[in-house]
Amino acid sequence: MAPENSSDNQPNHFRRIVYIWIVLSIVGDLLFWFLVGPHVPPGRMTTTATADQFDFNILAVIGLPVIIGVWEWLGYAVFNWSSKRKGHPESVGGVAAAGNKRAEVSWIVVTSVVVLFLAVFGTISLIAGQGSGAGEGPNPIWQPSGATQAETAAINGGGTWAPNKNQVLPVQVIAQQWKFTYRYPTFGGFESSYLILPNDTNIAFNVTSLDVIHSFWAYQLEVKADANPMENNVAFTKTQQLGSFEVRCSELCGIWHGAMFNSGNVVSQAAFEAWATKTEAANAQNTKYLPPFAWTYVPDANGASGGFYPDGTVTPYSPVESYGAKQSS
């Protein structure tokens, strides 16, 4: 944008603004990247958390210059371009001010390039992060290796999980009004109110609901998957740090939605195995009467899983035949 009137002795505002912008952007981006970036929520407890934190930081260092640029322009306008005369101010600009092909084209090109880069970057991040902790529905397409086998084994009869074998651990998250519970199919299918997870392990969360839509949000684990009735929503992450984490419901599910939270822990693989086998043994008397792991549960007259008895019999009261039938892998 060259000055329209070459005879006026105004400084080249545009160049000035750009120089200030470049300096402020570089300083702002560096400050953000080194001082703020490492502390951006949700932290680094899992691979998805680390990846999404990185993603956030990339967006921030791209977004910060945009914000700085527009604010600087607005501030510059307020201080340098206000009318000096009261009453009837002069009109300025002339025909040349109605447009500037170079400025318009540059703006469109630059914004398009930035936006397309962000879209591509986001997609790569999503795929590389095995879905980045977001619920992928019942047929996930980005998953850690071994997940399909682990899930198939879980639905068929439990499967197994042992430490140091690089196996995926399937965990079922059952949401109801107003509580989350967790089932471990590889340990007999016992149900727990606390989410205990082993470190350095790929976890496959299978999220479902008994009643209304909830959302399983394990904050420090960076997993968020909506719990829909009769739907299995699968999300993946890999734990990498020990510690405790919070689980909160992030989809309004009724009166006590605000109170629907609990907590969990990431413990060492050995500690996890000890806890899980102990709990499995303690619950063995009950789990032998419960249906093994099911993707979804439909409460009806026959109980929480809608007529699904261990021997696979269809009961006369289940509303749809397939509810009571053995589920295929």
Binding site: D52, L59, G94, S132, G258
Partner: protein
């Protein structure tokens, strides 16, 4: 419209729709005609009739007899209430007359202040009626917001029960969204679009007035949710919580269906008016940007709102006659509501954003005394946003369990929509470049729109990125994002438009000092309220909760106190309106801001037929400072010589050559 070949129409005392404007013969005659009083009475009677009918029909059904709630009765009560309201105000007179084959008699419309309480076909009267309706919604929703922030002052001390709190949250969101969908299109769109395009009336004045009275009825319907016990789903109304909920849910579903009807009608009317009623010479490249934004909004209103109506209808059927559109256990799908709702919901938020862009595009050249920069880019931006807005709705469902293949696609489209949105910034920044800015109150609000919408827009980019969305979806981050875009963008733009155009609408100036105080308190406290919410959300607090982690209390308290002060700032505006418009009005000149816009080239108050002669448009109204620019419009009369563009300060206005 009798327009001669040269585009000059004969002035008429009687409008083309065969209405006459007279004062009432006696105030008793006025009272015995149709007005809001009869609307209330007929609405009340309709309510009773509908409730009785519902009880008569449905109280024998086992599921109703056992549950103690008759949702059929609730629905019919509300439906008949609305029909009674509309019949009582006179909105159904003409259609009913036509249906039974009678010619409607020449309709008589009263002049005087009572016309604001009646069914009136003058788009300017409808615009002012919309102002009152919009503020009724806004202040009700605002009080509910104050209640929410009171509850969130402390995570362990609870002012409301959990039940009441969630219903307050739901009611606040729903009332505000209903208001925001019409807040600019209704008052300012209806008032100024005909004036800006050089028309004497809207294409469908009865439809326009009908949409206003439907909007007003929507307030009563959504308000009725409170005595019915409220609804617990938030404004998004997700099934199956919706199916589980009590009778207040019917108010939500029917209310949205009703508002949807009003939106379709308003959009249809505005769209047809803009396409067909432009004055001769007003080619598309001379259409003001505000009209462009309303045109784009009209397309969205007409095409997206039917989906809302369908969604609401299915919900009503699920709750009253036990269909199972949204009930997964009986063959329906909870995803159906989500998709229908958001297919409407995303264009809905652009229905809210676009008129705001139009207003700032309209106001900025006036106060910078510069031509609008890159006019065609602005128009292209509006069209681009409107078009793309239909392709992004699944970004609300990234974590819901949708087909994972869809997510990169919707991430792409959502990122892409930020390109045309950015055009508005290009246009604004270009117009500000080396300008002579007069910081009147409307201009200050416009600068605030750019400031706020920037934050709202950039935070939207974070939300559109699926991996980051895992952190920020469903929490206070997204809440802050949409408050920044809707309140920071649209509502600030609405106030800019109101301060800008009120002198023309009422002929009385707004007090500048009070306006400045209003602006600064609103702007500062708005940012202090909502900026911390980004951090609250990042730190893990979900939406719509009554309790939260103890370490977030400081941030929440900061937000709450700022919110109370933000609420108080509106009292300054109310004081300004009451003082300047009613108690101590100062007459405003015809064109106090020296705008080139066509709407300002009218007398104040504007006569019912707007222009004595339809003007011939010679150029768009943004050629400030261009020495040889054509005049904006040729009125064909000596008295209305257009204001020349190149006058400098102190010089008297001279007649420009043509």
């Amino acid at each position: 419209m009798s327009v001669s070949a040269e585009g000059l129409a004969e002035p008429a005392e009687v409008d083309e729709s065969r209405q006459t404007y007279v004062p009432p013969k006696h105030w008793v005659n006025g009272l015995l005609s149709q007005h809001m009083g009869t609307a209330v009475i007929c609405g009340f009677l309709g309510y009773i009739l509908g409730h009785w009918l519902g009880n008569y029909i449905a109280s024998g059904y086992p599921y109703i007899a056992n549950s103690g709630q008759n949702s059929v009765a609730n629905l019919l009560a509300l439906m008949f209430m609305v029909i009674g309201w509309l019949g009582g105000i006179g909105a159904l007179n003409y259609p009913l007359a036509k249906i039974i084959g009678r010619e409607p008699s020449n309709e008589t419309y009263y002049t005087g202040w009572t016309r604001y309480f009646r069914f009136n076909l003058d788009h300017k009267v409808v615009g002012i009626q919309y102002v009152f309706a919009v503020f009724t919604f806004f202040f009700t929703g605002g009080l509910l917001a104050m209640a929410i922030r009171t509850e969130l002052l402390n995570p362990t001390t609870h002012v409301f029960s959990a039940d009441t709190y969630i219903k307050i949250v739901s009611e606040h969101g729903t009332i505000m969204m209903m208001m925001a969908s019409s807040v600019v299109v209704g008052p300012l769109g209806n008032y100024f679009v005909p004036l800006m395009i050089g028309a004497r009336r809207m294409a469908y004045p009865r439809i326009e007035a009908f949409s206003l009275w439907t909007f007003a009825a929507g307030y009563f319907v959504i308000f009725s949710a409170l005595p019915y016990g409220g609804f617990p789903t938030g404004w998004t109304g997700y099934a199956p919580l919706q199916t589980q909920a009590g009778p207040g849910m019917i108010s939500y579903l029917f209310g949205f269906a009703l508002i949807g009807i009003g939106m379709i009608l308003a959009g249809f009317n505005l769209g047809v008016t803009i396409i067909n009623y432009r004055a001769p010479g007003m080619t598309w490249s001379r259409v003001p940007v505000f009209v462009w934004s309303i045109a784009a909004t009209a397309a969205l209103l007409t095409l997206a709102s039917p989906v809302l109506f369908a969604a609401g209808l299915f919900g009503i059927l699920d709750k009253t006659v036990q269909t199972s559109f949204y009930v997964t256990e009986h063959g329906g799908s909870s995803y159906l509501w989500e998709n229908l709702f958001w297919f409407f919901g995303h264009p809905e938020v652009y229905i809210m954003a676009l008129p705001g862009f139009g207003i700032v595009g309209e106001i900025i050249p006036v106060f910078t005394r510069k031509p609008l920069f890159a006019y065609r880019v602005a128009a292209a931006g509006m069209i681009g946003v409107a078009l793309l807005s239909f392709f992004v709705w699944q970004h609300h469902l990234f974590d819901s369990g949708i087909d994972p293949d869809m997510r990169p696609l919707f991430m792409l489209t959502t990122e892409l929509i930020s390109i045309p949105t950015g055009f508005i910034f290009l246009v604004g920044m270009g117009t500000l470049y080396r300008a002579r800015i007069r910081f009147e109150v409307p201009m200050m609000f416009c600068m605030a729109v750019y400031f706020n919408f920037l934050i709202g827009g950039v935070s939207g980019v974070f939300l559109s990125d699926t991996p980051v969305d895992v952190t920020v979806h469903g929490g206070f981050f997204v809440l802050s994002h949409f408050h920044y875009t809707i309140m920071g963008g649209l509502i600030f733009a609405f106030f800019a438009g109101l301060y800008f155009w009120l002198p023309k609408m009422t002929g009385k100036q707004m007090n500048k000092k009070l306006g400045v105080y209003h602006f600064w308190t609103m702007f500062v406290f708005f940012n202090l309220t909502f900026f911390p919410m980004f951090f609250i959300g990042l730190l893990g607090q979900p939406r719509r909760v009554f309790t939260y982690a103890k370490n977030l209390q400081t941030l929440n308290d900061f937000s709450s106190v700022s919110a109370f002060l933000l609420g108080a700032s509106f009292l300054i505006f109310v004081a300004n309106i009451v003082w300047s418009q009613f108690i101590s009005p100062q007459k405003s000149p015809d064109n106090p801001w020296d705008s080139l816009g066509l709407e300002w080239q009218t007398a104040t108050p504007i006569p019912p037929y707007n222009f004595e002669r339809i003007p011939v448009i010679m150029s768009d109204p943004y050629h400030y400072s261009e020495v040889d620019a054509p005049v904006v419009a040729d009125f064909g009369t000596e008295e209305q010589a257009p204001i020349p563009v190149h006058s400098s300060s102190g010089a008297s206005l001279d007649e420009s050559d043509q």
